[in-house]
């Protein structure tokens, strides 16, 4: 399945597509308002980019510094080369505490590792506590956005899900009341949980602590009530100094949702008296990406989601059409690193308009990397034959002025004469499915130029 074939299911509902498009554009506009209110915002982007680049350039050293500090703080540090090892480590910690009730706050990494099915398969109850994540967990769906996991759903969908699973009144789709129902339902889970799993937004090498940003407070509530905290982080989450958080906390929420900061910016450095804290440091393909000079900048990503909110393709095709943990433009440059064949259509799910690059708070050259992946994919023979041959043909055609001149003439006549059924035959011309052909001009520019100027 390609991105476009999966997107076809999404765009089949035109009203929903429009609504999705407008909702995300609204988030993008909120981002702009928040960003323009900070005069030094562009300086902050540059600083964030430089800090991340520097960290990557000394990644092995910072990882060791972080580990040593964390251990000194009484934190258990684990290393996982891949998803499987990560899941085994987490299960092992849970088992050693004879625990069966686990709450989890938002973590794209555990999503990437498919931790939930692994734990559930071993008899552990895992409850996602972020409201959006809980909604999609109940529906057995994947998140469709980095920070707005249930953005593909309408309140009626959530109402129906809660009626089914939480016993809310049928037909009640008031966000306020649904949120209250989730609050009551999840509170019971928080109070009963023995282990809390969380993601990590930033890991500070200087202090050995991790920082988690949420609006709901679900990470804090879960972690601070449970006996054991397990924080899973990719190796790219590191920043060198505590003061670097000044830069990143000013960028993250403004870029993500247009808020000046997330409600909770929580710093976990040492376990509470009598409790346990574990940090699992995960590679899962990241060091490989680090070794690709053209694509390593993707490791600077702070998962704000701004690039998807602004992307004209993402907004109209929905997160599920990417079929990868991280959707949107950044997902399209991370995914080929994991599986070139499976995700070969994603770098083409872009207009290369560059809007993603413009909004990225850490200045990743996203659209340039998309373009580079296309070249890698073409070289590896991973693009569909039709695309390959038509591009080859177009290349030759555009390189020859003579062929171009004749071609133009043919097209101008053809556009007038060809029957609609033929130009819009779905089998031949997918482009025309939602488009009309232009009114053909009577003469070409060259003909006009020859007549007027010479």
């Amino acid at each position: 399945m390609t991105h476009s074939s999966r997107a076809a299911t999404f765009v089949a509902d035109a009203d929903r597509t429009t609504w999705h498009d407008e909702t995300l554009w609204f988030v993008r506009q909120k981002r702009d308002k928040a960003v323009y209110a900070v005069p030094e915002f562009q300086d902050l982007r540059e600083l964030a980019s430089q800090i991340k680049e520097h960290t990557l350039s000394r990644l092995d050293e910072y990882l060791q510094q972080f580990e040593a500090k964390a251990q000194r703080n009484g934190v258990h540090v684990h290393w996982a080369a891949d998803a499987q090892e990560h899941n085994a480590i987490v299960l092992d910690i849970i088992r050693r505490h004879n625990a069966t009730r686990v709450v989890k706050s938002k973590s794209m990494l555990t999503e990437e590792c498919h931790l939930n099915p692994h734990l559930i398969g071993h008899g552990i109850e895992v409850i996602d506590t972020d409201l959006g994540e809980r909604i999609i967990q109940l529906r057995e769906e994947a998140p469709s956005h980095l920070v707005l996991p249930a953005i593909h759903l309408k309140k009626e969908d959530v109402g129906a899900t809660f009626h089914l699973h939480l016993g809310t009144e049928k037909g009640n789709h008031d966000p306020q009341q649904l949120t209250e129902a989730a609050r009551q339902h999840l509170r019971a889970k928080f109070l009963a949980a023995e282990v809390a799993i969380s993601g990590v937004n930033f890991a500070v090498a200087e202090t050995g602590g991790v920082v988690i940003c949420t609006n709901e407070g679900n990470a804090d509530l879960g972690v601070n009530l449970a006996q054991v905290h397990i924080a899973s982080m990719g190796i790219e989450k590191l920043i060198p100094r505590l003061s670097d958080l000044g830069v990143f906390t000013r960028l993250l929420a403004r870029s993500a949702t247009g808020q000046p900061v997330t409600t909770y910016t929580s710093h976990y450095t040492k376990p509470a008296e009598g409790r346990e804290m574990h940090i699992v440091i995960v590679d899962n393909g990241r060091t490989q990406q680090l070794g690709r000079p053209d694509f390593r900048a993707s490791l600077k990503c702070i998962r704000c989601g701004a690039c998807m909110n602004t992307c004209p393709v993402y907004r109209r095709s929905g997160g599920h059409s990417y079929d990868f943990t991280v959707p949107g433009p950044i997902g399209a440059i991370l995914s080929p690193n994991i599986d070139l064949k499976k995700h070969s259509s994603l770098p083409f799910a872009s207009t290369l308009c560059g809007s993603c690059t413009d909004v990225c708070p850490v200045k990743i050259d996203i659209h340039v990397q998309l373009y580079k992946w296309r070249q890698v994919l073409t070289e590896a023979g991973e693009i569909p034959a039709a695309k390959k041959w038509s591009l080859k043909f177009m290349g030759r055609f555009l390189a020859s002025p003579k062929a171009f001149g004749i071609g133009g003439k043919v097209a101008r006549t053809g556009l007038r004469l060809l029957p609609y059924q033929l130009t819009h035959a779905k089998a031949f011309n997918a482009w025309a499915v939602a488009r009309e052909l232009p009114e053909p001009p009577k003469q070409s520019f060259r003909e006009w130029y020859a007549r007027t100027v010479e």
Binding site: L56, D60, D130, G132, G217, Y264
Partner: protein, 188 residues
């Protein structure tokens, strides 16, 4: 030492790019006024109330939270004694927590709340309503200035900016997701 650790570190070392410098982050200055702090906190769902005498919070709190039965606080005579050992079921019944905040940030309405001020780490989020008491002279302009004032982040600590909230259902803002349903800052 696990072999994965060695493998990851070796791969990071082998694949990392040539070293680039770590930039110095300037202090960008900015507006550290009480007015700015009040306005921004209001825009994110919090509220500033001035108190004349921080030693006498009782009357103000009774007026703001007439229904609060179970209060926890190191600042006044509270009804629920809370410390690090307090069991979950006791914490879960707290209506109102009144805690001292350390630093206010004008650009985003956040307040630094270190572990030592919390009685129990879960109290600021498990309570139904949260009140933070802050000296108005401790307001700074930006997060850079706030971090510059932190000697360390202790074992645990959080910047709290407004009440718990979510917009996960159709982007409709709902206050009171899992943490405190309201946040009042008592400034003195």
């Amino acid at each position: 030492m696990s072999s994965s650790r060695e493998r990851i570190l070796a791969a990071a070392q082998a694949n990392k790019p040539a070293e680039t410098p770590l930039p110095t982050v300037p202090d960008f200055g900015g507006d550290a006024s009480v007015e700015r702090f009040t306005e921004v906190l209001g825009s994110i769902g919090g509220r500033v109330v001035w108190v004349a005498n921080p030693q006498q919070l009782g009357p103000v709190l009774r007026q703001l939270f007439p229904d609060a039965q179970r209060t926890a606080s190191p600042l006044l005579a509270a009804t629920v004694p809370v410390n690090e050992q307090t069991p979950t079921d006791v914490l879960a019944d707290v209506d109102l927590a009144v805690l001292p905040g350390e630093i206010g940030v004008a650009e985003n309405g956040a307040i630094w709340l270190p572990e030592v001020n919390m009685l129990h780490r879960a109290l600021p989020t498990v309570t139904q309503h949260l009140v933070l008491v802050l000296d108005h002279r401790r307001i700074v302009a930006t997060m850079h200035q706030a971090y510059a004032q932190l000697p360390s982040t202790g074992g645990y600590g959080a910047f709290v900016a407004g009440p718990s909230k979510t917009a996960d259902i159709e982007q409709s803002l709902v206050i009171g997701a899992h943490g405190a349903r309201s946040l009042v800052v008592l400034l003195y």
